[in-house]
Structure formats: structure tokens, C-alpha cells
């Protein structure tokens, strides 16, 4: 993982940064971060959290709660909470955050896929290079 800095400030260097997949396709923003204790009990960043369920609490207020509840309503029953991107997938922390995975393989891609499948792909020329 390329980081370029001995220390990072989460709000300055991680939160709200653009996450990009290995081919440069845009994945999501770092809406929140998940910490879990390591062997010595120190909190360590274990995952990037994305989607309304992660962003809502940070936006706060009625709008934030609404975001969360919408996600709660729309998410498939087998999924709970926000989408997780394990920190192991991160290859670089720069002006954007690069992953070793491809966007389509991640849970963050669900909404995009849904809109594509139900609206965009139905329109003529949706595969045409813009």
C-alpha cells in the first residue's frame, strides 16, 4: 500500500476522498472508516464504509436520518449496514484512493447496476462510447 506519509489525518487525507478501482473507474467516496482492534488492542482501519448508511450519520440531522432509512428500506434483506471495502484492497492513498479490485465486483456497484439495468440499458445507444 503506497501512502507517502508517515502519519495521516483521517479527515484531511482519507474521509470524503474519491475511491477509484484498478482500471481508474470511480467506485465511491470514503463516506466513513471502520476501526477494529489489532493484536495489541489498538484500533486499526479495517475497511472503507460507503453508501447512504455510512454518509447519513456524518451528514446528521433529519436529512442524514432519512438517507439511512432509505438505504435500510432499499437494501437486499441479506445485507446489513453500509457497503464495506476491506482495507486490504487499497493499493494507494494519494489524491484519490486506489483499489486492487474492479468496481463491478464490489457491493458499492449495486445501485449503479440497478439504474443501468432498469433505465439506461433500455435506451438506444447505451453502449456507444460517449
Amino acid at each position: 500500500m503506497k501512502i507517502y506519509r508517515p502519519v495521516l489525518d483521517v479527515d484531511l487525507h482519507l474521509l470524503d476522498r474519491q475511491v477509484v478501482d484498478r482500471d481508474g473507474a470511480m467506485v465511491c467516496k470514503v463516506d466513513d472508516l471502520e476501526f477494529q482492534p489489532n493484536a495489541d488492542g489498538e484500533p486499526v482501519v479495517t475497511a472503507i464504509l460507503a453508501g447512504p448508511a455510512a454518509l447519513g450519520p456524518r451528514v446528521g440531522g433529519a436529512l442524514g436520518r432519512w438517507m439511512v432509512s432509505v438505504q435500510e428500506r432499499l437494501r437486499p434483506s441479506d445485507q446489513d449496514g453500509p457497503a464495506r471495502i476491506a482495507v486490504a484492497l487499497v493499493t494507494e492513498v494519494g489524491s484519490d484512493i486506489r483499489l486492487s479490485a474492479r468496481a463491478v465486483e464490489l457491493r458499492t456497484h449495486q445501485t449503479e447496476a440497478w439504474v443501468d439495468q432498469h433505465v439506461i440499458s433500455k435506451l438506444p445507444g447505451a453502449d456507444h462510447e460517449g
Binding site: L12, F35, Q36, N38, E42, V44, V45, A54
Partner: protein, 115 residues
């Protein structure tokens, strides 16, 4: 624990409030034995003021436009750094710190980005 469980939360020291958490500093080194780097929570940046922190001028060396840099610095000159080892708990939207406000050091400047 999520970053948002700590960010923006009030920080209660033995002798009262030190402000709110405006940022969380993590070490990025690879610990002995491990083969990949880990982002280990090292401490919290605490400020009585929130404005201007996301701009990032408060922890950076001189940076233009000078006027904005100066204003942000004055707003944040009483910011404090709380080593994670001093944090007793972060339950119910409040960070309990095992120290007095006066004992807390200033915020160490961010080392510049290596290329």
C-alpha cells in the same frame, strides 16, 4: 467503531471540556512481524473551534493565500493533541480523556508528503 463515532464528539478531560475532535491521526508504518502497513490510530486532534479544520491549514506549514492561512491558524492556535493511550472511553457520544486540559500538548505539525 467508526470514524464518525469519534469525529466531532466533545472531549471531556479530568478538569473539563477540551473541545471537540476535529481529526484523528493514524500511523501508517508496517509493524514488526506484519508484512503490510496498517493504519493505526495514534491520537486525536481536539479543538474548541470546528471552522476551518477541513481546510487543513491549521496543521500545515505556511501556505497561501496567506490571509486565510493566518486566520485559520489564529482560530486553531489553542488546538490540543490527545494521544490515543490517554483515551479512557468513547461511549455515548463523548470522549473521556485521562488527563487535565492543561497537560495536553499542542498538535504536532504534519510532516510533508513524500513523493
Amino acid at each position: 467503531m467508526r470514524a464518525s463515532d469519534i469525529m466531532g464528539k466533545p472531549v471531556r478531560c479530568r478538569d473539563g471540556e477540551a473541545g471537540r475532535v476535529i481529526d484523528m491521526r493514524v500511523d501508517t508504518d508496517t509493524p514488526p512481524g506484519a508484512e503490510v502497513a496498517e493504519l493505526r490510530l495514534a491520537g486525536l486532534v481536539v479543538s474548541p473551534r470546528r471552522w476551518g479544520s477541513t481546510v487543513g491549514y491549521d496543521r500545515q506549514d505556511d501556505r497561501g493565500p496567506w490571509l486565510i492561512w493566518w486566520i485559520v491558524h489564529r482560530l486553531h492556535r489553542s488546538d490540543r493533541y490527545v494521544g490515543w493511550d490517554l483515551v479512557r472511553s468513547w461511549a455515548d457520544g463523548m470522549v473521556q480523556v485521562d488527563a487535565a486540559v492543561g497537560e495536553l500538548p499542542g498538535v504536532p505539525a504534519l510532516p510533508p508528503r513524500a513523493t
